[in-house]
């Protein structure tokens, strides 16, 4: 099966799990920011969770289907249409050759994920096809380029039966956002007032947000410890530069850095933050290792599970 890119804003990219085992070389992790939605898109087609998918931020993408196939759509509701018929996310759906798939503007969420049978084909570069523009790694050509008009996306000929993800299993992207944070060692070196504010006041997502990190706006946090020597940075790290406004580091972060940190968001919270638009209110909530781990394992299990008992999709 294949799809042709007719129009793009230049933001849609191929992503998978990301690159591992090479971070000591300065190579960033990459991978789908909302790994839960990406994993569920694969799940709906019976793919393995790390199959390459399209990450589509904010819409502005038109694809033409060149062969009959089944695709799956999850994540943000970008008011996608198939030949002008609205498509609901969290379903897989049949498409026919010649049909047009258009991603418009977000109704809720930021990033939609589109999966194809056995994943979109792309070369593996350092063990992954994750697109990292800055590192010139991954994507369709392996050189880090985002999708461009004219690109052809290929996948397997298999046509799985369209199914719908049962409502209770869908991540709710409309609920008020609480991001669970696993506290790090340096948290004790922030002032007491700062810690109280960090976890009791509302933060807003700043316009400076991309695949490297998301800034939050809110109370100014004061770090009282010594300056730090640069060290490895984990996914979701909440670092506080001298201006006191936290930056949450995401998949395309630099591999080492020297700002003090409150701790790190759990992987589940990272996925949720990736769906927060500019100005959206979020709260930080302290979580224990065991609680955060339990929720993480819950999603992994769901994504890896079988889907053959799901209701079929009815179109009217």
């Amino acid at each position: 099966m294949s799809l042709r890119v007719e129009q793009t804003l230049g933001l849609a990219q191929l992503q998978d799990h990301g690159r591992f085992g090479v971070r000591h070389l300065g190579v960033t992790q990459g991978g789908a920011l909302d790994w839960i939605s990406a994993g569920l898109a694969n799940h709906l087609l019976g793919n393995s969770a790390d199959c390459p998918v399209l990450e589509i931020p904010l819409g502005g993408l038109t694809l033409r289907c060149e062969q009959d196939t089944t695709l799956a759509l999850t994540g943000a509701d970008l008011q996608a249409t198939l030949d002008d018929q609205l498509l609901a996310p969290w379903c897989s759906f049949a498409v026919k050759a010649g049909q047009r798939l258009v991603f418009n503007t977000p109704l809720y969420g930021v990033r939609a994920y589109l999966a194809a049978p056995d994943g979109f084909r792309a070369p593996q570069v350092l063990g992954s096809c994750a697109t990292v523009v800055r590192d010139r790694l991954g994507g369709l050509q392996g050189n880090g380029a985002a999708l461009q008009a004219g690109d052809q996306l290929d996948a397997a000929a298999r046509r799985p039966k369209p199914v719908s993800l049962p409502e209770p299993l869908r991540p709710d992207l409309r609920r008020p956002v609480q991001l669970e944070l696993v506290p790090g060692a340096q948290i004790a070196r922030f002032s007491g007032v700062s810690l109280f504010q960090a976890f009791n006041q509302v933060w807003r997502v700043d316009a400076r947000a991309d695949r490297m990190g998301v800034r939050l706006q809110g109370p100014v946090l004061h770090y009282q410890g010594e300056a730090l020597v640069s060290e490895g940075i984990a996914l979701g790290a909440v670092q506080v530069p001298p201006d006191g406004q936290p930056i949450i580091l995401l998949n395309d972060r630099q591999t080492i850095g020297g700002y003090p940190r409150l701790g790190a968001l759990s992987p589940v919270a990272v996925a949720r933050l990736a769906q927060c638009g500019v100005g959206e209110p979020v709260r930080l909530r302290i979580s224990s290792h065991s609680q955060a781990r339990e929720r993480y394992l819950h999603w992994l299990e769901l994504i890896d599970g079988r889907n053959d008992h799901y209701p079929p999709v009815h179109r009217g």
Partner: protein, 234 residues
């Protein structure tokens, strides 16, 4: 040696061996890295050495934090520094010239040297690879002698050419890819620092040593260097 283990995230721990940057940290950090790789095996996702620490990302599906801490403690019991640094020594040719190293002359003045003396000093010692970061294959090297120390540019350049060699504080580095950058640029190397086709992908690895060797413009071109001057785009 009594390493401190700190929570970094749900699936990562920081192992802190030292407080300050020092070349003598490397044999300890590399020894610890080796032991941790052996003891975690397939449960190790990533291990990122830096100047004083290692960030260990473990498979949290298989281990909880306490099990991971226990494995670290066992692995690092009676840690001894590597006697022979396993790393390689590289001689990297550099064409030092104001057209590709616009900070060569200002930095020489700042250090009270003439440009030739500055070049000679920059080439006069082996630098350790402390860590890789910022970009694939970007190695933080040090330490440069105190006289050559210079703060980062107040406003980073929007575009620094691949192969550019620079100094910031007491460290020196080469930009593997064209990128923005705030280091003081002295010259350019024709050698590719990172290539997915290389064995190990990055020419420089943590624990390696680097010596810069000044070459002429002709030699730079012969080695395949791109001598297009650095243009400042407003």
């Amino acid at each position: 040696m009594n390493p401190q283990v700190e929570t970094a995230s749900l699936d990562s721990l920081i192992i802190r061996l030292f407080e300050r940057i020092d070349e003598h940290n490397m044999p300890w950090l590399l020894a610890a890295a080796q032991r941790l790789r052996d003891s975690f095996g397939a449960l190790l996702v990533d291990l990122v050495p830096s100047y004083t620490t290692l960030l260990l990302h473990y498979d949290v599906r298989a281990l909880d934090e306490w099990q991971a801490r226990e494995l670290i403690e066992q692995a690092l019991t009676d840690l001894q520094p590597l006697e022979h640094l396993s790393g390689q020594r590289h001689e990297l040719p550099v064409w030092y010239h104001p057209s590709v190293g616009p900070d060569l002359e200002p930095l020489a003045r700042h250090s009270g040297l003439n440009p030739n003396e500055l070049i000679q000093r920059h080439c006069s010692r082996d630098y350790s690879v402390f860590a890789l970061g910022f970009a694939p294959g970007f190695a933080y090297l040090g330490l440069v002698e105190p006289q050559l120390m210079a703060p980062r540019l107040a406003t980073p350049r929007r575009r620094v050419a691949a192969g550019s060699v620079g100094i910031a504080e007491r460290q020196t580095a080469i930009y593997p890819l064209e990128s923005p950058g705030g280091w003081n640029l002295l010259g350019r190397t024709p050698v590719a620092l990172f290539d997915p086709k290389y064995q190990g992908y990055s020419l420089l690895q943590p624990g390696d040593r680097v010596r810069f060797v000044a070459i002429s413009h002709g030699e730079f071109l012969r080695l395949g260097g791109d001598d297009s001057p650095l243009e400042e785009r407003p």
